[in-house]
Symmetry: D2
Amino acid sequence: MAVDCLTALQHRGTESSGLVGTVGQPTNHFNIVKGHGLVRDVYNEEIISNLKDSIAIVGHNRYSTAGMKGAINCVQPFVLYTARGNIAVAHNGELVNASRTREKIMRSGVGLSTDTDSELIGQFISKTIAQNLKCQNDKKELGNITQELAATMSAIELSYCLVVMTYDRIYAIRDPYGNRPLSIGCVYGAEKKEGDSPLAYVVASETCAFPTGTKFHCEVEAGELVEIKRSGIRSVWQMMAKAKSFCIFEYVYFARADSYFEGQQVHSVREECGRILAKESYVEADIVSTVPESAMAASLGYAQQSGITYEPVLYRNAYVGRSFIQPNAEMRQNAVTRKFGVLRANVVDKRIVLIDDSIVRGNTMRIIVKMLKDQGAKQVHLRIASPPLKHPCYMGINIASKDELIAAKLSEDEICTFLGADSVKYLTLEGLQRAVDAGNKSENKGHCVACLTGNYPVDISF
Amino acid sequence: MAVDCLTALQHRGTESSGLVGTVGQPTNHFNIVKGHGLVRDVYNEEIISNLKDSIAIVGHNRYSTAGMKGAINCVQPFVLYTARGNIAVAHNGELVNASRTREKIMRSGVGLSTDTDSELIGQFISKTIAQNLKCQNDKKELGNITQELAATMSAIELSYCLVVMTYDRIYAIRDPYGNRPLSIGCVYGAEKKEGDSPLAYVVASETCAFPTGTKFHCEVEAGELVEIKRSGIRSVWQMMAKAKSFCIFEYVYFARADSYFEGQQVHSVREECGRILAKESYVEADIVSTVPESAMAASLGYAQQSGITYEPVLYRNAYVGRSFIQPNAEMRQNAVTRKFGVLRANVVDKRIVLIDDSIVRGNTMRIIVKMLKDQGAKQVHLRIASPPLKHPCYMGINIASKDELIAAKLSEDEICTFLGADSVKYLTLEGLQRAVDAGNKSENKGHCVACLTGNYPVDISF
Amino acid sequence: MAVDCLTALQHRGTESSGLVGTVGQPTNHFNIVKGHGLVRDVYNEEIISNLKDSIAIVGHNRYSTAGMKGAINCVQPFVLYTARGNIAVAHNGELVNASRTREKIMRSGVGLSTDTDSELIGQFISKTIAQNLKCQNDKKELGNITQELAATMSAIELSYCLVVMTYDRIYAIRDPYGNRPLSIGCVYGAEKKEGDSPLAYVVASETCAFPTGTKFHCEVEAGELVEIKRSGIRSVWQMMAKAKSFCIFEYVYFARADSYFEGQQVHSVREECGRILAKESYVEADIVSTVPESAMAASLGYAQQSGITYEPVLYRNAYVGRSFIQPNAEMRQNAVTRKFGVLRANVVDKRIVLIDDSIVRGNTMRIIVKMLKDQGAKQVHLRIASPPLKHPCYMGINIASKDELIAAKLSEDEICTFLGADSVKYLTLEGLQRAVDAGNKSENKGHCVACLTGNYPVDISF
Amino acid sequence: MAVDCLTALQHRGTESSGLVGTVGQPTNHFNIVKGHGLVRDVYNEEIISNLKDSIAIVGHNRYSTAGMKGAINCVQPFVLYTARGNIAVAHNGELVNASRTREKIMRSGVGLSTDTDSELIGQFISKTIAQNLKCQNDKKELGNITQELAATMSAIELSYCLVVMTYDRIYAIRDPYGNRPLSIGCVYGAEKKEGDSPLAYVVASETCAFPTGTKFHCEVEAGELVEIKRSGIRSVWQMMAKAKSFCIFEYVYFARADSYFEGQQVHSVREECGRILAKESYVEADIVSTVPESAMAASLGYAQQSGITYEPVLYRNAYVGRSFIQPNAEMRQNAVTRKFGVLRANVVDKRIVLIDDSIVRGNTMRIIVKMLKDQGAKQVHLRIASPPLKHPCYMGINIASKDELIAAKLSEDEICTFLGADSVKYLTLEGLQRAVDAGNKSENKGHCVACLTGNYPVDISF
């Protein structure tokens, strides 16, 4: 089950993954499997069958946000022996104050063997455990580290969603800004009856990772600490909330279309972005189309609103990786040319409105516009279903630096020229916010739009 | 370049691939690289750079149509030392009379080391070379094996497309029924001027495999033998044509949407199938949708014709393989549940027309219908953009046996019950043929519809 | 059991190995496992347990005597589908007339997919099977290919030991010159009683490969064809014998010291060589020593005869490979310096008689003499327990060309200077022959000494 | 060069190895390569060439003395980021008080990610660095951690030899008991002249690991801390010495015969053991022999002293691993039967004195005695070149528990019966000590004989 979840989350990065499960119930032994590459290459049948009935956490598949790429001990989850038994830590997000915190922890006498945030957080927990041990004379219930996690949460700011495992329970934790998503589901058996209690709980960044038979339970609140034991689930601590700053880019690009955040499906938000975009920046054309597949929803929304027929213009070869997460520029370049085939019959002599969800460097789009024109397109009008991306993200989305962001350097007209398009229009920030809030059922609203405005939820100075 | 082609053709099967290139020009040495798994795992930079300026052929990536799966010497192309030098043989298709031909060749004294068609054909060529040598006293030009290939073509019936390489030329060959596709392209440099001769030729089953900068040259005709040398390309032999029997399933399902056959793009044919299907089997509904991605075109066609809005209902996880080509039933089952996420917002309380290109066993579709109903769909009407699949294919499409084909065992009503749908309708054979012939620019028309009618192009008795 | 034999024979080469076993008794299916590297890396528990109760043959581990190194289909045994069912062929030796035979078989219409002798022989058998089929109207017992093997033996000259398997029997074959060794053993259970029939038979190049509990049965005679079935063993054909030419180098260097040939243990022959060498070329010294480990026996013999104490002077690092069989010169060079540590306490101020079994290029010995002198040896006298190696071997021992043999180019004095030794003496040919014949119990005596004299058992002209 | 050393030390265990080198001089970046398996499988040419001119340390290849076998981050050297930069730690030995120290370090707030001693020591150093930083206001030279290492040495008792690397220097450290060996060599170029300074220094457990061209410099003294910089080498700290307790088993079995300790070559000590054994326990016999290869020296000593001829009786197959270090009992059992072939000609009707260096469980020896008797030996008299092994070692030699030691459970007569020998005699403790001290040139004598007497150098209570 843990492995199915990992597979479902591979759109978040395919570099490596890890899994830690308890073996037997009374024992404190952790079984660790880690590897590079696709999920199906890391876990085999034997590994999976060994995990039956155990508590297990799996590391989010990440592209390397920071740190020593390639070292296997950097693969999540990170396991530590502490003064109160083993803990395993999986982290989604990126600590904005990581270097200050690292310095602090090293100056307190702890050596770090990787430069991952998950080790850093694990060592923080470990230190707090030791401090509490001194005060408490070991009276606490064995696997209970609620207090230590609460102390850690207060110290590490943002962004983090954590899943922390001790030998008999799992903690699900979300930072006080709610920057990264975290949901909990209840797994039921095939013949579920009313009133049955769940067979298991599952915690994941996105609901799409829930295995078949899972019922959505809740989103972990910003600043909340939830404890899951065999005997049940309960919220054990709530930090004082900061201004909610849930990453708006999860809606725009990062999350899977079938995931739910704040009570609404990502796909619906994207369609709404497309509809608003059509209202804001209509252009006369023969067809609406998209760069498969992430902007599919937005382009269908645009088509509905504008009344222009949707037609695909590009075939996407599923056997070539996602260009955004290829490790270097050259590999991204090659990937584009191999990845798309033009559906010429839909292109020749057509005026095309081409929708994409965002433009980062513009290199991929430039090649695509050229491919379409080479194959006979009369006009190519770009419509981008999000505002210009102008500022780097320090909270987990790998947008490296301002220099590489085309919208940080060029005006809309210059971008149009660079891309070789006939026109380029972006969704407005207001439009995006309207789309995101249309179906938002959360009581605690508020999104991080730092990459669009430069207003970060906390002071960024380094 | 050869490797890019392989990557582009991975939708035809991902089990293994091989590549043979000449090393140096005067030498007769072949450089062979073979492996299992995705193209990007088999070939590295060093291998590719060694092939510069060489003649090379690559084996079609196949799922195991027949033979000893897993043995590396079964991986195409098959290389043989013959009495007139090395040859390498790559084969697409499946010899319907393979067992008789094998028996014949073994009785002639040749041992076979695999049970692939490509070895069998290679040994046939080898035998013919030896026979001709006796008659001709070695007077023929060294790498020229035209006569031997012509003799082989006459002997092995169908279906085959072959690419055969000697040390200084490549032959492209298509069986007299034209059952499998084979196209030739001319590769030009970046600054091509009118009248330039091509830098290279490329032969592939589908035009989508042509690298950037390739201009379509021709389809190899049914029964044609084309020779490509450094000095140019020419048609060197033409068998007397049989009734043209190009596999109609290439249009329906197998080929990539951006490939061209008979002068028309596959995507356009599929859209037309959808339009005709809408005329033949309209049903009142809220949305038209599809099982991503192969039936996307048909569902857009259906939507256009019917005026019902197209909306996606399933998210397809690109990191899980294509269910059709997983090696066994259990793996197919698992693959389905992991592969699709439901876009619930588009499903709840909706009457859905769900388009698919074909139904083989119905297992995948049954799971999908259940997923949609579980998520709140009011009605699910299946519309299949091809006629019922009732007969096995012995010519290269892996449709195992009549027992496994749902349409061979159950009536349309029974199928509907089995799948749990509200209605099920297939495209008629006439409808399919009309769609396929609408834009057909070939002078030699005619399609194999044996899997739909049981009328095979040749006598099948075994 | 088959795998244990392979492990025992790894001193004959560690490049690759293969194993073919029947699966089930009535079936004609062969189970094939092949791989590169050490035996323990190729076969796992699962593979081995699947072979229970089956007939199986394993390929001799070879360094590449000839052919396309690295191609997995070159790994023995070679399996072919023939007109009378599958055969598997394993070959030890080297066909002196391989290129003529290849040309002949290719001109008869057979393509060859490797350049191994085992494929060539397999195709020869395959051809003979087909010819006999025509004459005999299929009346022969199914797995019986005695006649075809007899015909093949007559055609392929030398050198070959073959193990050929059909679905229900194994043939053990030795060439009419008896050039390569081949022995048969009977395997008994733990509580063997007088009169019990054996549980199994085992065929191997060397008796050391026999598993525990095996009783030596016989050597296959020169030109003999032995058939082993579940029901028993019998000699089914005997070629007219040629002058016996058993490779004398098997005694000198190649075989394992605990193997038996011609009724005598290899170790005893080597000790006798040492004793005769001491009589022929005594020198005053403080200690007798050796280059570990193949000349250990000869040096103990020398010590006994001369009365000079044996003392080791070199430690051999078992984790570095045998230099003789490293694939290229540079790797051999590195291997030497890493392989030996000097036992300085036994070397300082000593006059050393250093025994080795043979000198090929002299490069290793030159480095060793220098190492000993650098560490303080007063004198180093080389005594070689075989005559000078002056001629290449075309029958299976990888002695590449005359140019590389130091004794073919330099006189004894020049060799002494090149090696930096104080004296160099070789065993005489008469001495070697006396040593080899002292305990020889074979009725058919005679050894190939072509590498020492240039007199080959057959005409070598190519 | 570092890699050559590792290869030379593979007799100390073949499970895994690691290497850390600085990349560029001013930078603080460490290049880490780790892997399982033989040295030649872990390091390739590219890795090695990248290390040119760098400071590098390599982890001792160990069998798993303690800890989580298999986890790659357990492979030495262990690298940590500390408050004063990166350090890498390689450890030979075993901390007797590891569990107390672990508890202490975890209670101080440090989480441990492995259960290796090297991580534990690394965290100890890291903690001391942080403490000193607070006092010293960062005035110390950057890579200098002398004080921290001195503090660590005082805290961790025994046994340890450490090599610790910072970005610009390497420290070589030996515990105050001198329990494990550690030597330093100077590497000179090919044309060394008098007065040249060395090109490099090399630190290794055994002198046999020194590459060609290395001159022995010194043994690190018990309790000594030596610093090596590009500018030279110097002893920077000396702990107050404890009673010297150098492991006597390094002489008996563990070290390579060509290594030097305390000014004498291991091989010479072993020969002397054999001579004294012959004096103590002479028996009339036809030959003296040994179980290859570690007791070769002792058996030659026995032969010299007794006047009985040395003759080998077993052939050892170099392609089967050392039985002592196979990970489990079953694999050891299989290894024995595959590893040795009997030289029958030397065994039949002979009275054999069989020398071995030690008996642990007796299982191997029991099988060997049976093999010899089965092949016709008249008598087999065992003579063991060390006293009975009765107590476990907690300081780095993997002798698991008293229950498994045959001499801890059975009397000499019972052992004789169990092994099936005609007599069994051990070397006396006095005999062993005489042999070890005969050529001992160290000024600080004293050996740990805890495994023979139960008197441990420190209190062992757990």
